[in-house]
Symmetry: C2
């Protein structure tokens, strides 16, 4: 599969725009754990993920983390290049959750395309609205849901992404997704284990009763 197949509005570009885009691309690979873009960092380019998984996170002043959304195969990382839209006045950090391969589109090339093409500008609108929707959802969870509900929902989401109920994840990592502390997550998971919903072992959470977690997480 080539860039042309991955870029959703390829057919709506004019030939000179397609050429400009292809000529400017670089293909890159990063390892799991790599910071693809730091907060307050440069604005090299938008990424189109060929394969892998990224997460967007924000930090508190004390260094706590929270995941605000995730990106998968075929997704575009717009906030990897927030400078393409000047009104974006916040910084997210983008980290690879898995080994990830992507095309990088230079910011100025993308900005030119947006200025020229209503199709590209409207597509960018839709992209931003998707991320906005995810952040609103995350915010509503954070504001109104208790920690046990949020942990339950997170475990089910992980199981769905990984396609297994045996999750290789530490309590620390769960805390960093949910903006919490390791101790709080450990206590919550032990309660779940006490209720027979999960089994805990070193670096691993096994879901035993997804139905019960789901009922809790709603």
């Amino acid at each position: 599969m080539s860039f042309q197949n991955f870029f959703p509005i390829w057919d709506q570009l004019q030939p000179h725009q397609q050429r400009q885009l292809l000529d400017s691309l670089t293909f890159q690979a990063v390892k799991r754990g790599a910071i693809v873009r730091g907060g307050n960092a440069d604005c090299a380019g938008l990424l189109l993920i060929r394969t892998g998984q990224l997460r967007a996170l924000v930090y508190s002043e004390e260094g706590r983390e929270i995941t605000i959304y995730r990106l998968f195969d075929g997704d575009i990382c717009l906030f990897c290049a927030p400078c393409v839209i000047s009104a974006i006045q916040f910084d997210v950090t983008i980290q690879a959750e898995k080994d990830t391969e992507f095309w990088s589109i230079p910011s100025e090339v993308y900005q030119n395309l947006m200025a020229e093409s209503a199709a590209v500008a409207n597509y960018t609108n839709e992209l931003m609205a998707s991320r906005f929707s995810e952040v609103m959802n995350r915010m509503e969870q954070f504001m109104w849901k208790s920690m046990d509900k949020r942990v339950a929902a997170f475990l089910l989401q992980e199981a769905s992404i990984e396609g297994t109920r045996e999750l290789r994840i530490t309590h620390e990592a769960i805390a960093n997704h949910l903006g919490s502390h390791r101790e709080v997550i450990t206590r919550t998971l032990r309660d779940f284990q006490g209720a027979g919903m999960v089994k805990l072992s070193r670096g691993m959470v096994t879901i035993l009763e997804p139905g019960k977690l789901e009922a809790l997480g709603i």
Copy 2:
């Protein structure tokens, strides 16, 4: 001042687009407290505020409220017509905080303009990014800041909007801005009063020491 003066990219529209826009406008006025758009409601049109003040809020399942951003003279209420961007998958309620006059642009007219004009599409991008930035800021406050810091920041923002330190606002209203309960706000304000930062009277909070509130709110 006419619509032409208020609409920021008027000069970037073509004559037929300008005419289409003007022909479709309606001018309306609502009273303070009115719900301009309910969550899950229709998608009649985008509003351009001539004069007044709106707030965008979300509700918890138990009916608690939180203000996620505010709009003032000259602002456009994009989320009054979320249907213009299909990837917007969340609902906000828009309420008038003051008597408000606005022009309403029908959704389908605006959608046509976006599809035709890269300028309108990119302007819409900037609008959405501004709201997104405000929501991110609000979310970070909610996630990482204690209630006393948030109340202090809110009082200072109110003073700045109203141009006075004598704020006509109930504890209930502050709770509804901050996603909290009246009792919590009353306790916090009494602590502030005990520290000499504010004076409380019926339906009123007077700021005595803005410097101290500011130091607290950071």
